[in-house]
Symmetry: C2
């Protein structure tokens, strides 16, 4: 950041217009300009309020427009791709996350000159660090609450995702705690439906967690999915805290930014931020949001754990993208406060991905959750937990998982089954 | 809706898998299934909790995948497009909008079998109508507050969008009220920045609005952009109400669902819902959300006015899509409560689009906002307002705008200038 009074955002664009002109149209539309000159837009006003094109770097060209509807210039047979950086005066909006979204990711994606437009990254003045809490726990706080040091946290997702009663969920949690699991999360489809009410589930699961903790000294961290309205989320948070719980979970695309800010300000527990719905914003390579820009906004609002998909996942995202996402959560957001979040690897995870996942994160500071990869172990849930622990122990010690399995039967059975 | 206990959603899919299999994978992933069978997923549990494929209608095929990353089957040279309807038991989630998003638009868009997946529409059990307020004002309440009957509301956007001080905004509002404008809105980029604080702007603008109303008996409706955190939005709403204001505005993608629900429950004024950022969710024709599905969720949360872009707009959206969006806001959501919202036409609007806009809405129950199309009129703001009024008066009377302009000089000047 060259200027601490300005917000900067990086974009990938694709356009048949002269790229400089296209970039100026973006800047105008997102600040003081409109489709024709208006009387009040004086040079002084523009100097004060206009967005600026800070950088423009040409990339390659494509022969056909990647997205429909773009206007063409006379030489419209070539579509130029480029990286563009725009900046805005902080004074236009102040350090406000909901308004930042309108500014950097508002009426841009459908602008006529563009057959592609994707927000890649964002850099914010320190006023934002003063205005928002950021992750209150991060990796250190999570490790402290989960009692896990020096290795990744091994987690699972309650499966079946939906359909279990509160009591059945509690019984499964008891088995998982017995097996020594570090972390359990609700599925994002399970929040407070009549078939498994939130309060009942918290009572049943925390009874199991607390009983196991009393016996073993290890308290499993459970991320209870409290996704809902603001007042509901605050009340549910307070219940989890009162029952001795150590984590809450919310689906950020369901809750949205103002709701997440309210939760971030209220919480006394780590927030496990689920990204379901994220695919709609990112799957087209020339549209929407790249993960670093998107995740920074949720980090600022208070997300401690953020989903990054998994190595060899069951979705369409490739491993390079997963690795880049995971690494980006360690990019320091502000000099005085990096606001790092914990990468959560999930989706089709089994013992097989342990070495690659550890390498992807670049450190043991990660959380991995395996659903079927734990509860579908042929020797049962406890063996599923043990196998995952053993796979990561092996990877952490630099031992081939296959070798380690020779005297670790749970791991051996998992390697064969999955 | 055949079954009042189930939620239904329609999708466009594109897949190289057998379409029935692909649809079953969607249903499984979004309910009780995961990537491998798990012990607890009994037939009874599936009967109780699983999503169902209700309908599958094959469309055409494409030769190349529209989006990258999809898995292929052995006959993966053809990508079949289809319409699919899924349904879920309401008991899985209850009537909760944030959790509905996770269910119908969660971890779907990146599923391996799909080279395209787009949510088209949604139908909800009446439990949702009981749980949420819907639009508290709609067209009737808006007409009552604005004092406009039998014709569209003619509006404008404060331009330049940003850069004017609160005082300068008040002065522009005074000119616009003097010109007889029905409606004024803040730009979505203008909320509560240090350069134009919300409270100062409300004081300055409402002084102008109230003074004009005292003189003429007509109170212009002003949609003040209160986008922000929940408590900020509630407080700002209360200020607008106290000053005699009649409308508030929020950017729904910036605020998000839980925030909009809180605002919808709190408000005593119509909510003008801005859709900036919507392009990221919709511009790829095979990804994200279609407008009917998306707008229904905001209507339920309380949006009274919803942006639908404009005829011959400055964006990439074609007129057919704009018309379909506008019409969809009148689709009744529930038998006992249709929850209709007012279509707001904007973006590059001038006197030229009046007849087509009226035809698009299918009735005069609409709000049109022109920014440059009003304030850049060659004879000034008041003439800009008058020209827009005249254009819609002509269209409403079935008179050619060009003919009407013969004895309406403001309209004539606008036809020439724009």
């Amino acid at each position: 950041m060259t200027d601490p009074t300005r917000i900067e955002a990086d974009y990938l664009i694709e356009t048949a217009y002269p790229p400089e002109q296209a970039a100026e149209i973006m800047a105008g539309e997102q600040s003081s300009g409109t489709f024709r000159p208006v009387p009040g837009e004086t040079p002084e006003l523009k100097e004060r309020a206009a967005a600026r094109v800070e950088r423009l770097e040409l990339l390659g060209t494509v022969e056909a427009p990647s997205l429909p509807g773009s206007g063409q210039t006379i030489d419209g047979q070539v579509y130029q791709q480029a990286h563009v950086t725009l900046s805005w005066p902080l004074d236009n909006l102040g350090p406000s996350l909901p308004n930042l979204i309108a500014t950097i990711a508002g009426n841009l994606f459908e602008l006529k000159p563009f057959s592609g437009l994707r927000l890649l990254d964002v850099r914010l003045p320190s006023a934002f660090a003063a205005a928002y809490p950021g992750p209150k726990f991060g990796m250190d706080g999570t490790r402290r609450l989960a009692g896990v040091e020096g290795r990744p946290l091994i987690g699972t997702i309650i499966k079946p995702s939906v359909g279990l009663s509160a009591e059945a969920t509690g019984a499964l949690a008891a088995e998982l705690c017995e097996g020594g699991i570090d972390f359990i999360k609700d599925d994002e489809l399970q929040a407070d439906g009549p078939a498994c009410p939130f309060d009942d589930r918290v009572h049943a699961v925390m009874a199991a967690v607390n009983a196991a903790a009393d016996r073993t000294g290890k308290k499993t961290m459970v991320a209870f999915n409290l996704t809902g309205e603001i007042d509901e989320m605050r009340r549910r948070h307070d219940l989890v805290l009162a029952e001795g719980g150590t984590c809450i979970m919310a689906s950020v695309t369901g809750v949205g930014m103002s709701g997440m800010i309210a939760l971030g300000r209220h919480t006394e527990l780590p927030i496990h931020a689920h990204r379901c719905g994220w695919g709609a914003l990112t799957r087209s390579p020339v549209l929407g949001w790249a993960y670093p820009a998107w995740s920074k906004l949720w980090r600022l609002a208070g997300a401690d754990h953020m989903h990054v998909n998994g190595i060899d996942n069951k979705f369409t995202e490739d491993n390079d993208s997963v690795i880049a996402s995971a690494r980006s959560l360690s990019d320091p957001m502000f000099e005085a406060n990096p606001m790092r979040a914990v990468p959560v690897f999930s989706s089709g995870q089994t013992v097989h991905q342990a070495p690659a996942t550890l390498a992807a994160a670049g450190s043991p500071d990660l959380l991995v959750t395996a659903g079927g990869g734990v509860v579908a172990h042929p020797d049962g849930v406890a063996a599923g937990v043990m196998a995952m622990r053993e796979a990561y122990d092996a990877a952490l010690s630099g031992i081939e998982v296959q070798d380690y399995a020779k005297d670790h039967p749970a791991l051996a059975a998992a390697l064969e089954a999955y």
